[in-house]
Amino acid sequence: MSSSHPPEGAAPAPAVTEAAESWCRLARSISMYERDSARTQGFLDDFLGHISALDPKWIDTDGTVEIAIVRDSMYVARRRVIEKVTSNLAWMQERLHRSVLVGAAFAPDVDRDLLLDFCQTLLDNYSANAGAKGFDELWPEEFPGIRLVEMRFAGVFGDEEGFTDGTPYAGLGGGGTGAGLTDEQILVDYLLSDTDVIDHLHSIEDVAAQGVDKDDGLVSSSELVAQIVEVLPVEAFEDVSKALKLTVEVLSRIAGRGQALPADVAAFVDDKEIDLLLEKIGRRFFVRNSEGDLAEQIAERQRANEVPAALRGHAGDDAIQDDLVAFMQEFKKLPQDKVRLVTKEDVDVPAEQLGAYLHYLTHLESEEEAARLHGPLNKLLGRLQRTELSAVMPYLRPEGAGDSYERIHRRLATFLRQTNTSVVFEKLGFLDAEWVVETFPHTFSLYIRRLDFENCNDLDELVTVCNRLGDVRILAEGTALATREGLLHPHVVQALCKSPIRQFMPLVRLILQRGGDEMRPKVIEYLLHAGLDGKEGRLLALLPERYIPRIFLLSLMEPGGQKASSRANVLISSNIIRFVAETADDPKEKASRVKAMELLGEFPSEEANAFLYQIIHRKGLLGGESRAIRKAAKASLKKMSGKTKHV
């Protein structure tokens, strides 16, 4: 161990700085050239020559020359010899630090190969250590003739004057295998100089002489004190008197016991602090360590942990190893597309995001959180093309049953009802009765436009849709259907009204209600084909469209029946009268007029009553009505009697 103090006074001779720098040159040479090369060997000769030639005052008591680089300064024998390091020295400092060293001490007669090995290890450590490895990992082997000066923090906690390590590398030196003195070593020296301590140690040595031999772990006095120091509380390093008191107390108890301390020494003492110290010291010195090697335990623990399956491969697989040839063969088999720059569109892929969002929409536990996705999903849907929307399809037709299925369906339906749904389905090219009902009325026009009314299956499906929607729901959405959903599109009107299906009644009613007059003939056509019977049916079949008022037709299509209301009856009564009056001179309408007179009796009103009287009395060759007309009027009047009073 080195304990000499650095030489003071005169500036270092050039030979000293040259010795230090020659070490750096040697290390750099090893990094570049073969160790047997003339160049490296030359630097090796230089270095050994320089340190051998140094004045003895630069040599430590252990016979070594200590060279260190700390904070950009270079030291030999702990004396600063270069204040600002050169690039060569900076290079060396970097490697030393990565090796958790500040320097090394070299015996002038160090073995040449060992010196080269040491330098090589220094370089290897530089490459191998990214900052996580400690001194002991990096320097598992010793290099006879070379003393490593480990980088260590040496200081004290607190403002009091503490123990110094006695080296100039405050905060960095003192560690390793002997350079400088640590706090513990200084404290040990201090304690060993105390007469009380020495007296107690003598007593303990007497105990040892009585039968506790080395095999039981007994060590020398100085080592015993060193071990006591090691377990002293940190405060003891700040307060020497405390350290002395504790040490004396511990030694006293050990000596007083007169035999090897049992592991449960704690049972024999009362002071807690002393108790703990004794327990530790007792176990260390007098009880064999049966726990085995810690490193082995760690290794065992690592072995116990299983390597993940992904890394183990499958049973029977050949283990994949480092094999450059095999690697290159496999690499060449990888596909090689033409290289192109990645763009925003490659990274920001709406279809991928849609998939994720859809999954969340349909699987999140909270309805509220699911609802928060509507906005982002809406934005995405607007950006997607038909093929990119395919992710939606499985959610539109999920398989299975139960809560999960229902939730998927419900969440998606809720979302789709609130979005530009028809665009989604239009892009998808898919829309079935289920989703028309779920999303009604948003997808209705898309649906109805895609129907083939000549196709029975399509018509059946529409019947199903209308049945499931129900009249009330259809009529409630009248405005939307008429304005946004294209119900009044001529094609739709034409197709619907040509289909004499009673379930279409509410749709046809909306056409009549919201559409123009041009819709009326088609609606009448629908009503006629839809099986309207009785007087209403006969009326529609008889009268030209212009004599059939919209209100009458609407009354025929009231939910729940095909009978005109009394108010509509009054109105139709007027129109029959108008028809009869306006066609008086038209011989082609003769038969129709007779039928009209017959029907008038079924739509009683005061006006009809009066008109029938007029017809009955309108006789004569000029301006008179035919016998058939008057006869029909009489019959109608008779039919009305009792229903309407004659005025």
Binding site: V156, L276, E306
Partner: protein, 461 residues
């Protein structure tokens, strides 16, 4: 020959174990920030911490463990804990606020004591102005086994007595941009806490960090890429996410010139595993093989991830889709299982490749690091799990000797890879110790040509 002392094996083992202890402490602090003190997770992590402490001290070891803190480093037994200092930044900050130089944990510290201290370290504000008041507070709370230590002072000969080092040594670790890494870890820790508290994420900071990585990659690729090989493992997978982000951004930088595309990929990569914040603690931290139910729960992290990102005020759709789909395969396999065919964007494909590559080449508690070449061979054998065109490009860009890694040449020289070329076997390298310009190994032909013999730093399973 000089007289050399035998190495102190016990000290060496303790130093190794202290890293685990600090990791456990960070986990406990993070949990204490998320949950109430009596939450099972806090209790579990504090219990684990106490076990670590007992393991660390052992039955015949020292009576207390002193964790020192100075500047940006935690240290133990005078030795810097470089890796632990990164994840333990919160500990450093908390101690700095109290002007404390560390913590002393006695071996009789129990779970209650530990919970009190962990709680204090996790809080932004403690009713104590300094370490002394903090200790008073501990006393009031009945905790005497753990103490905040006074500030740490370096000792030395003093002015005029030789070299004086004021404060902690400035450790230059040229391969790891420590500041950037720390900021990333801090941000991901904060993100985890926000997720657990149900508060909005700071996506502005996330984006700033993505831009910072991009800037670092542009200015010093090798230095930033060293993060991708940084072998610190953390239970919360912060390190994994950071490494995947660095790999993905380096890769994507070669695929596009569009900054917006890069930012989107970076954001997606950094947050791709955010869903793990909602995976049960016991499963996420399990060191045993997961059973089918546990695996199913773990696999839900993709669903949780997208969900968390969707909960933000302005969800970034690319990040949502990547978090959701990065375990899907191009042949419609993987998880989550879906009703529909699910296309994967380039962002998801890139992150997926980097995710698997990182997992294979990183150190884990149950495995050592794997070489890039072997990782590629495994990935190629997985067929349509990946977009094979993109996998090919990744291999070309990342290389079998990745930028920043060290290689040994046939002539024995050590070199650092500075960039890839069109040949995987012949990258451009800087020879260690030479001030010359980097060498293009493609052009280094002939009898005296330099070729790579092996990649350094790699150890095989």
């Amino acid at each position: 020959m000089c007289d050399l002392h035998p190495r102190d094996e016990v000290s060496s083992q303790l130093t190794l174990g202290i890293v685990d202890f600090v990791d456990e402490l960070v986990v406990a602090i993070t949990n204490s920030r998320i949950y109430s003190p009596d939450h099972p997770r806090v209790i579990a992590s504090v219990t684990a911490l106490c076990e670590q402490l007992r393991d660390q001290l052992g039955t015949d070891g020292p009576s207390e463990l002193v964790l020192g803190a100075t500047g940006e480093f935690l240290f133990y037994d005078q030795r810097p804990l470089i890796g632990a200092s990164l994840s333990g930044n919160r500990i450093l900050e908390a101690l700095a606020r109290l002007d404390s130089g560390g913590l002393s944990f006695s071996n009789w510290a129990n779970e209650d004591d530990m919970r009190i201290v962990v709680g204090m370290l996790g809080r932004q504000r403690v009713d104590a102005a300094n370490y002394s008041e903090a200790n008073d507070l501990l006393d009031q709370l009945g905790c005497s086994s753990i103490r905040f230590l006074p500030s740490y002072t370096e000792t030395g000969l003093g002015p005029g007595g030789g070299a004086v080092v004021n404060g902690p040594p400035k450790l230059d670790t040229p391969e790891i941009p420590i500041g950037v890494y720390k900021r990333l870890v801090d941000h991901l820790q904060d993100t985890l806490v926000r997720v657990c508290h149900g508060t909005l994420l700071d996506t502005t900071e996330t984006m700033s960090l993505v831009e910072l990585i991009l800037h670092q990659l542009a200015t010093d690729t090798a230095r930033m890429m060293s993060v991708s090989r940084y072998e610190r493992y953390d239970a919360y997978t912060f390190g994994h996410s950071i490494r995947v982000a660095v790999l993905a951004l380096n890769y994507a930088s070669a695929l596009t010139l569009d900054d917006e595309v890069l930012r989107k990929i970076g954001m997606a990569a950094l947050l791709h595993d955010i869903g793990k914040a909602r995976v049960p603690f016991e499963i996420l931290h399990s060191t045993k093989r997961l059973d089918a139910d546990e695996r199913a729960e773990m696999n839900k992290h993709t669903l949780h991830g997208g969900e968390i990102l969707l909960e933000q005020e302005l969800p970034e759709p690319v990040a949502v889709a990547t978090a959701f789909g990065h375990h899907r395969t191009t042949d419609q396999g993987g998880y989550p299982g879906l009703l529909h065919e699910h296309p994967l964007s380039v962002a998801t494909r890139v992150v997926k490749i980097c995710d698997v590559y990182e997992a294979l080449t990183a150190v884990r508690p149950y495995k050592d690091r794997m070489s890039p070449m072997r990782a590629y061979r495994i990935m190629m054998s997985m067929g349509r799990h990946f977009d094979l065109n993109l996998l090919r490009r990744f291999i070309e860009i990342n290389g079998i000797y990745p930028v920043g890694s060290s290689v040994q040449l046939l002539d024995g020289a050590t070199a650092r890879v500075t960039s890839q070329t069109d040949s995987l076997l012949f990258p451009i390298v800087q020879i260690e110790g030479e001030d010359f310009d980097p060498i293009d190994l493609r052009k280094s032909t002939g009898p005296k040509g330099r070729h790579i013999e092996r990649l350094l730093i790699e150890t095989q399973i």
